[in-house]
């Protein structure tokens, strides 16, 4: 256990600086963005009301009120989220390949550590999860702050306030911040399974090199097939024999099966087939 934690901490520290940069960009961009958008909205309102002599209600019916959701549709808000998403996606590959392509024979040293090699695999997965959840938490801290800034900068009658819980009802933010804790575990659980499948795919490539690319893709395709097997069988062969709730529990089952398969094959490759 202790070795595992050490490995997690090691992976964590190696990426931490870059992670802080990502956090910094997000905070800076969203804070500047919310102030800019709120002031732009108020400026437009002032111009419309005092220069074009529109009444407040006319202005609202034409442009809508200012709210957090209006801000959440701008690039100021979405840009950093997309950047963080893409970075972490690259990181899923980077976390493995830098051990091989970095200075010295780092992968060699990692693999001869006196610990089960599976720990390396699990530590890398844990690190990815930790970084993802960290950014989710950061966003959850930023949203109320941004709501508060909008409250300060935009007068009451031009503004619609929402509680933070309403972001779960939003059509894409609802995916990142689902409504209940069970949904949260479901969505991020599926995310972990996907990361593990990619990890094992990478290990295929690291074990068999050129041939491994093909094997890795084949493995990923089989994993996806296994994951969706209940739905596919039900739709294509059984003509919707199963009810929705039965299908849901079967999907949970194949989800765990996919995860177990990824970790088991990953473990096998690391112990028997990996090349440095």
């Amino acid at each position: 256990m202790n070795r595992f934690l050490k490995l997690v901490n090691f992976e964590f520290s190696r990426f931490f600086k870059l992670y802080l940069v990502l956090v910094g960009i997000t905070v800076l961009c969203q804070m500047v963005g919310v102030i800019f958008e709120a002031r732009r909205y108020v400026g437009r309102a002032n111009k419309a009301i005092y220069e074009d002599l529109l009444s407040k209600s006319d202005f609202i019916s034409q442009y809508g009120t200012m709210s957090f959701f209006r801000f959440s549709e701008t690039l100021w808000f979405l840009g950093p989220i997309m950047l963080a998403g893409v970075t972490l996606l690259i990181y899923v590959f980077f976390i493995w390949y830098r051990d091989w392509f970095g200075k010295n024979t780092f992968s060699y040293r990692l693999l001869v550590l006196p610990t089960a090699r599976l720990n390396i695999y699990l530590a890398k997965a844990t690190t990815v999860l930790l970084f993802v959840l960290g950014l989710i938490a950061l966003q959850l801290l930023l949203v109320p702050a941004e709501m508060q800034i909008i409250k300060w900068l935009v007068p009451d009658e031009l503004r619609t306030d929402f509680s933070i819980a309403t972001i779960s009802n939003h059509y894409y933010l609802g995916v990142l911040f689902p409504m209940t804790i069970a949904d949260f575990i479901l969505i991020y659980g599926v995310g972990i399974v996907a990361v593990c499948v990619v990890f094992t795919g990478i290990l295929f490539e690291r074990s068999y090199r050129l041939k491994g690319i093909f094997l890795g893709i084949l493995y990923a395709a089989v994993s996806i097939l296994v994951f969706f097997a209940p739905i596919l069988v039900n739709e294509l062969i059984l003509r919707n024999y199963f009810y929705a709730n039965e299908l849901f529990y079967m999907e949970l089952g194949t989800c765990l099966l996919t995860l177990a398969g990824a970790i088991w094959i990953g473990n096998y490759l690391m112990n028997k087939k990996i090349r440095v």
Binding site: L130, I136, I164, A165, I187, L238, N240, Y243
Partner: protein, 396 residues
């Protein structure tokens, strides 16, 4: 420990923030509750009532399913609830509970289902929209007493005439199944057909109840009053036929009105295959055919009157008009008319007064009030004060 401070800090903050978010959102959950408060009458009338409505305002919109004891917010359901839900239609769910094995794989088309105490019947048309394939009926019959399922596939007769056949109603009468279906002709227009399926001989015969006239340039349609969520036995089918012809292009300069060729309301006796026209002027149709209801041998036709809702009765067997009943409604003058639903010999009226929504249930024949109550939107937040409740469906 000191080496680990970064990772520990990040983990602790993450857990605290995400935990706080979910504790907060479960406390602040927008549990909109619409209660039904009794004023007078018998509670039994609303025991199984299901009211579909929207609570909306300010670009926010909640789709609600209101019953006596609980309100389900269909637009605010968790992912897991959505993934495990089969249907929100009460009739379908009841069948699913009772005959869970038989109901497997039946598409959620209530029109295709029929149930009485002896049989559950499912008939659907397969092969629609595919020219190269033959259309056939997919038939499954469950004998409730012996728990035996018979299934068969029989060709749709004269299916070359149609590019699409849609089942409107399924009934089971004396070991025969009658399927009433709209066939969309390959040429223009449509037919309302009745297919009689003999289960023992495995034979299908067809007969056209009504065929819309051929229209060169215009519009024709057959509108069947289908009680979407009803699978019960019934004797009559009510439908409206309509056809008009646009004025020829050269005459269009004079802005000619479209020439109405046909506009009739008809009632079809499913048992005896008799078709009858209802003689009534357009004014007498009130809210239109979709608001009509049949109970036993009487057609009830609601209409707006100055003091409330006036319901006309027409007896199909005797061809006679019955006594008019007037149901008084108190309603704020607004954009929306009160919601009316006629069902099982009763009238349900929900109006809107001062942000509250009075519900009145009365007997259609005697005009007597059976239940009176009020729908009240509870725990409304400040920003929801001006939200309005729009009812669009009642099932009981």
């Amino acid at each position: 420990m000191k080496r680990y401070w970064k990772i520990i800090t990040l983990s602790v903050i993450t857990v605290l923030v995400i935990g706080a978010f979910y504790i907060n959102s479960s406390l602040a959950a927008e549990n909109i509750v619409v209660g039904i408060e009794k004023v007078s009458g018998n509670e039994k009338e609303i025991e199984n009532i299901r009211i579909n409505g929207d609570l909306s305002g300010n670009d926010i919109h909640h789709s609600l399913l209101i019953s006596k004891d609980k309100t389900i917010n269909l637009s605010n359901q968790s992912l897991i609830e959505e993934l495990t839900r089969t249907s929100t239609v009460p009739a379908y769910n009841q069948l699913k509970e009772k005959y869970s094995h038989f109901m497997r794989g039946k598409s959620y088309l209530e029109n295709s289902l029929y149930a009485d105490e002896n049989f559950v019947v499912y008939v659907n048309v397969e092969g629609n929209g595919n020219v190269s394939k033959n259309m056939y009926f997919e038939i499954e019959v469950l004998d409730v007493k012996t728990d035996k399922t018979t299934s068969m596939e029989l060709d749709v007769p004269n299916d070359d005439n149609y590019h699409w056949v849609e089942v409107m109603e399924v009934q089971s009468i004396n070991n025969e199944i009658k399927v009433i279906a709209r066939g969309f002709r390959t040429e223009s227009g449509e037919d309302l057909n009745v297919y009689t399926i003999d289960l023992d001989k495995k034979a299908v015969s067809d007969e056209t109840i009504y065929g819309s006239p051929k229209i060169e340039n215009g519009w024709s349609d057959i509108r069947v009053v289908d009680e979407y969520y009803s699978v019960e036995p019934k004797k009559y089918l009510l439908f409206q036929v309509y056809a008009h012809e646009e004025p020829a292009y050269e005459d269009a300069v004079e802005m000619g009105e479209p020439k109405i060729i046909e506009d009739e309301i008809m009632v079809y006796n499913i048992e005896t295959n008799q078709l009858k026209k209802l003689e009534m002027s357009p004014e007498e149709r009130g809210y239109g055919i979709d608001s009509f209801a049949i109970n036993d041998t009487t057609i009830y036709i609601p209409n707006q009157s100055p003091n409330g809702i006036e319901v006309n009765q027409y007896n199909i067997e005797n061809d006679s008009w019955g006594e008019k009943q007037i149901f008084k409604v108190e309603h704020e003058k607004g954009e929306h008319a009160p919601f009316i639903e006629l069902q099982n010999g009763k009238i349900y009226i929900i109006s809107s007064v001062d942000g509250k929504y009075p519900l009145a249930i009365s007997d259609l024949n005697t005009g007597q009030s059976l239940y009176e109550g009020t729908l009240v939107v509870k725990n409304q937040k400040k920003e929801q004060q001006d939200y309005k409740l729009y009812i669009y469906e009642i099932n009981n």
